[in-house]
């Protein structure tokens, strides 16, 4: 075993289990029915308030599963998950008030227009009146879709959909924002726009958990990166520290080194 790589291996967030940041997971285990191996196998994570945390992992590593548990979609088989120190079982509504989720699959009604989508999700969050109107305009501006506000989403390009998908996730101005691969399949322009805006949002104090399989993306955006493989966090640190510790030329190499070169989803 490579000496340098083993420095932080295991469960980096586990040791100080008394602390609980903005997004906290400890010892999560999740086994899907009709799956051979667990999707999460002792997964732990601790994201501090105001952090921009990148969760990096190959296909099928368990990123979406971890996010599903963190956002309360379903409970883990064992382990705990907390948002701002609260657990879902007890404070589901409080958590949902401060949580924003941008799902990996685009979560928009195809037949509704951009504005109608923003309106619907805004109202469902309990936002009304002037505040809602404001947020909708902000959202359209954010996604650079003001000129396409009256077009049904079905007519949008992938980039437009991804931007709107993100804007809808921000409609309730969340304190904690969780993004599941928000930039898949889009061009450099859209990606750049999203990156800039996420950075701005983070600078205003929003805690962000960002999953991706693109190294540069994580390196460019995140203040801290965790690498997940086979349902467990295998490495964690700032981009610089990770590079330094591993002695690799770039994160891509470190990533391949840590997660192996064989396909993960075959």
């Amino acid at each position: 075993m490579d000496q340098t790589a083993s420095i932080n291996q295991g469960n980096p967030a586990r040791p100080d289990s008394g602390s609980s940041g903005a997004i906290f997971a400890s010892g999560l285990i999740k086994q899907y029915k009709n799956a051979n191996s667990p999707a999460l196998n002792d997964f732990s994570l601790d994201v501090q308030p105001g952090e921009f945390y990148g969760l990096l992992g190959p296909n099928g590593a368990g990123k979406t599963t971890a996010i599903s548990i963190l956002t309360g979609l379903f409970p883990p088989d064992s382990g705990t998950a907390r948002i701002m120190g609260m657990v879902f079982r007890e404070s589901e509504n409080k958590i949902k008030q401060i949580l924003g989720l941008v799902p990996q699959n685009i979560g928009l009604y195809d037949k509704l227009t951009a504005r109608e989508n923003l309106t619907f999700f805004g109202k469902i969050c309990g936002i009304q009146g002037k505040k809602l109107a404001e947020r909708i305009e902000q959202g359209l501006e954010f996604a650079r879709l003001a000129d396409h506000a009256r077009q049904p989403v079905a007519t949008f390009s992938t980039g437009m959909k991804r931007r709107l998908n993100l804007a809808v996730g921000l409609i309730n101005d969340p304190q904690v924002l969780i993004l599941d691969e928000p930039c898949v399949g889009i061009d450099a322009q859209s990606r750049n726009l999203i990156h800039e805006q996420l950075t701005a949002i983070n600078q205003r104090g929003t805690t962000i958990l960002y999953t991706t399989h693109y190294m540069e993306e994580a390196q460019e955006l995140c203040s801290r990166i965790g690498i997940i493989d086979n349902g467990r966090l295998v490495e964690e640190g700032t981009p610089a520290a990770l590079l330094q510790q591993s002695g690799r030329a770039n994160l891509e190499e470190l990533f391949l080194h840590l997660t192996g070169k064989e396909l993960r989803d075959s």
Binding site: L73, L112, I124, G169
Partner: protein
């Protein structure tokens, strides 16, 4: 509450944007109710709405055939008289066996002669006490399509038998009166002294002494003859309502298979609010569906020769039944949307289960016409509860109080579906 309105408005918007889907939702039950009512000729025959055609071949061409024709024309049978010079018994048999006609009757050659002979022999002076021999009856040949319903079969044979009995009686009375007259003449009794005017015998015998008067089957109702339209319109409207379960399931599955459901579940909104939005929107659709079908029944049916559908004075109760039935259907749709994993699955499971529940519930074959075991089983079908409520209101003329139980069952069904859907929503993977 505001969120329910939001969710409902969104569902309506989505429905309005899906014009073809909406059209199918309305057209499907409308077409069904028209087609099914039109093809239910058997039911109409059974109920005397339409005359049954009877092939009639008179190889004898005597009084017997003529008087049988007159007798049958007064009933519910329509005679199709075949030319005896061009057709024979084998052809009638074939036509009935092929199902071209349901009933055929053949009067053999010399039937009138044999019939009159037999009547005369019966009343030959001095032979009155003798048992009539079998050889004295004149056989008429009857053919019945084995494919017809038992009820129709017994109805037709009873009518024919009745006609034959009447004709035999008439012949006997004529003979009796003739015999009496001759006997009186032989005894030289003056007509005034005779106990009876033998000429009047036929008239006396045809005088009915007993009649049947139909009374309402319950105190509140008025008498209405059984009418397939009153049965079919609510039955197939109900079927259409329960079919909306499939598009509801589809709408949930579209949300689940995109990121929408995941997103909604992370937002501060209960799945029950989302279910309520769907239920209200689709209940609106069901109500429109029912109104459309009722209008077709009321105004289109008379134009195509069917009786008109009428909603009696119980309109509010009927609408309430529509709402509760559609609520049950929506509940089922929501449950399907959460228990199934793809639209294909939901539409197969949904269609099969709704058709089965419709069959068990008496939508296709009335419950009373089912085997005993199925009759007992019919009470488990939500379509049966809706149908019973409709029949109580539309056929039996009951009021709201009579259908409270059925409405309660429909509501309970919705509640159970919603509960399980809610539980499932919390553990979607």
């Amino acid at each position: 509450m505001l969120k329910i309105i939001t969710a409902t408005a969104k569902e309506f918007l989505l429905l309005l944007r899906d014009r073809t889907g909406l059209l199918v939702l309305f057209l499907m039950p409308a077409i069904l109710v028209i087609v099914i009512t039109l093809v239910q000729e058997n039911v109409m025959e059974l109920t005397g709405q339409k005359k049954t055609q009877v092939l009639f071949l008179d190889l004898d061409q005597g009084d017997l055939g003529r008087s049988l024709q007159t007798q049958l024309k007064t009933g519910n049978l329509e005679l199709v008289v075949w030319d005896e010079n061009r057709k024979d018994m084998a052809e009638i048999q074939k036509a009935v066996a092929n199902g071209d006609y349901q009933v055929g009757i053949v009067i053999p050659k010399d039937a009138t002669y044999r019939f009159k002979e037999a009547a005369a022999r019966l009343f030959q002076p001095g032979k009155g006490t003798e048992n009539p021999a079998d050889s004295m009856t004149t056989p008429l040949h009857l053919f019945i399509d084995p494919g017809i319903m038992a009820g129709l079969r017994s109805g037709v044979t009873a009518q024919l038998q009745m006609a034959l009995t009447v004709m035999s009686q008439e012949a006997k009375i004529t003979m009796l009166s003739k015999t009496l007259q001759e006997a009186m003449a032989g005894l030289n009794v003056p007509p005034e002294a005779a106990p009876l005017d033998s000429n009047k015998l036929p008239a006396l015998f045809s005088q009915p002494l007993l009649t049947l008067t139909e009374n309402p089957s319950n105190t509140r109702a008025t008498i209405t003859s059984y009418n397939p339209v009153q049965q079919n319109v609510p039955a197939w409207a109900l079927f259409g309502m329960f079919f909306t379960a499939i598009p509801i399931a589809g709408s949930i599955l579209r949300e689940r298979n995109s990121g929408i459901w995941v997103r909604l579940m992370a937002l501060p909104v209960s799945p029950l609010v989302l279910f309520a939005g769907k239920a209200i929107a689709y209940m609106g659709i069901c109500l429109c569906q029912f109104v459309l079908i009722a209008l077709i029944g009321a105004f289109l049916f008379p134009l195509i020769g069917l009786p008109a559908f009428t909603v009696s004075m119980n309109l509010p109760a009927v609408l309430l039944t529509v709402l509760f039935s559609s609520l049950a259907a929506c509940g089922y749709g929501i449950f399907l949307g959460l228990i199934c994993n793809s639209y294909e699955q939901a539409s197969t499971v949904g269609a099969t289960s709704v058709v089965a529940a419709a069959a068990i519930g008496g939508v296709m074959v009335p419950v009373y016409a089912m085997p005993h075991m199925m009759q007992r089983l019919s009470i488990i079908s939500p379509l049966n509860w809706g149908l019973t409520a409709f029949q109580d209101l539309l056929l039996r003329g009951y009021s709201l109080s009579a259908i409270v139980g059925d409405l309660g069952r429909l509501l309970l069904f919705f509640a159970v579906c919603a509960f399980f859907s809610w539980k499932l929503a919390g553990r979607q993977q």
